[in-house]
Symmetry: C2
Subunit: 324 residues, 2 copies
């Protein structure tokens, strides 16, 4: 099970391979929120999301003779790109299984990062069967997107950086808002903060209608989302919290925050105009929560912008609708 | 005159007040350019441009009894915002003289950063007369935008960071491309590289039709632009190189690179899709040169993206026109 020593070991393996993203801020955002807001822009991470951290951690933790056979992942999004690039930089093969109706750009990007993309028909074929057959035939190791201790350890390096950056700024008490899907990033950050900055409390942030983590924290057991589509925040929709991540989150996390789609789009527009960063809808929910749902939060809030892989048309719509 | 010891002293004064911007990269950009490209995103600096460095340097270098009376600047753009915020954080007054037809958003932003904005009628009034009267009446110190040794020293801290970051990456030979207007950033960087990373050579980058610096380097004397309007790169249009900056640039800089407006817009779109940063047209000319005019450059190129203060409609147009 992931603990602080695993996170620190992951950080040693990631050193020199990931970007230490800065903390950004703007007096304009502070004024809107009525408190001090810092943003950790993981959209600036390699492949445009924090997922590269977990992918690198998991791949670098494999025994050399296992790793050399290659890895496999199921993803149409940020995890795919993280695994593809981390594998390429390790000099090993990666196979990414994607639905044949995934956006052409995402397929092309994943291939360009060095992966072999295997497409399947969502209606007629079973993703799991295809994956199991490929993994067996070629001795590939499956890299899960969140419910995997070394992936959680890799995402937890974000929390180590936050603890250090907060200390540099003299911050010993803050709420840390984290976009959440399966809970890999949140659980890793929560473990890092518990050990290194116990005055900082992590909270999950989710889009309205897909608040399985917030509801699970209220009920104390894993709750499911009723739907898995229909949100702009496609990168952070998972059916339910992970079996490994949820116990960590239940023990360490503060209450969940839920934001509307308009709040998410406005947060993207403000990140554009005030921070000069590109954030995807799913990556902007924590900033939206900090800006528009902060009344019960600490005077200092650190919001993770977890990814920036957004199509141009959605980004244009956001900054056109919320020009100020 | 600015030298390396002044730049190092400026860095000591800036420490803890500016952001050390990271170096970003993407394999997609390397492929387009046919060489290794790193981007130094000064758009992520406070107030959205490198100008905050020079403003902080100049204000922090004033004698306390002079500084306490306040400062004044002429600018409708990035220098205004840099001076306004640096003055506010020093707890002193700033007066920014802007034309009354400047964009409402820029006036509002400059006021929001704490400045007293004095508007003048470009047709009927003399900016210099208004400024001289205010400066005399209120004992304000003028902070010039580039032809001022302490401003050059502040911009030069960007070069110190580049020298350190290049060393961390094992780079001892590279071309460093810099968007240029009056030459404050370029001259400061060139001085820093001369002392700290002599294998790195700085080059000015300019938009077509406004290539006064490139032409001045060819002729060996200060040349003027024929026009001062009609470019999207409004932030980097100045009539000619500075009297203080040009001798430094002439001694240390490599040849100038000139880019078209379409190349600039495409560089903005690629910075959006591949680096997840927001770059204004004037701030994107060095990245455009690296991507599309690199054939005579070193195998490693470091391009400064100097600012991100771009209106939403221009940004939308760039990413719509160049979607890939």
């Amino acid at each position: 099970m992931t603990d602080i020593s695993m996170i620190e070991a992951a950080r040693a393996r990631l050193d020199g391979h990931i970007r230490r993203t800065p903390l950004l801020s703007s007096p304009f955002l502070d004024e809107i929120a009525g408190r001090r807001i810092f943003v950790k822009p993981e959209c600036l991470q390699h492949t445009g999301s924090f997922k590269f951290r977990g992918a690198w951690s998991a791949i670098s933790a494999l025994a050399p003779d296992v790793r050399s056979k290659g890895v496999i992942a199921f993803s149409s999004g940020n995890h795919a790109q993280g695994v593809a690039l981390a594998a390429k930089l390790h000099g090993i093969a990666s196979v990414i299984i994607m639905p044949s109706d995934a956006p052409a750009l995402k397929i092309a990007n994943t291939r360009a990062y060095g992966a072999e993309v295997v497409l399947y028909d969502r209606v007629k074929e079973s993703r799991d069967e295809i994956g199991a057959r490929l993994a067996t035939d070629r001795n590939l190791t499956l890299i899960k997107p969140f419910d995997e201790p070394q992936v959680i350890a890799g995402q937890g390096t974000t929390g180590l950086e936050i603890a250090e950056q907060a200390a540099e700024l003299g911050i010993d008490k803050a709420d840390v808002l984290v976009p959440v899907s399966g809970g890999g990033l949140l659980s890793g950050i929560a473990l890092a903060l518990e050990a290194k900055a116990p005055g900082l409390v992590a909270h999950p942030c989710e889009p309205e209608g897909f608040d399985d983590m917030a509801r699970s924290l209220v009920s104390g057991k894993i709750e499911r989302n009723a739907s898995l589509s229909g949100s702009l925040c496609d990168a952070i929709l998972s059916p339910q919290p992970g079996d490994i991540t949820f116990p960590i989150i239940k023990r360490l996390s503060g209450a969940g925050l839920v934001v509307t789609e308009d709040e998410t789009l406005r947060a993207m527009a403000l990140a554009f105009s005030r921070l000069k960063i590109v954030v995807e809808p799913g990556g902007a929910v924590a900033l939206a929560a900090a800006l528009f749902h902060g009344s019960s939060l600490e005077e200092t809030v650190i919001a993770i912008c977890s990814g920036g892989n957004v199509d141009g048309d959605i980004f244009r719509m956001a900054i056109e609708r919320f020009p100020d």
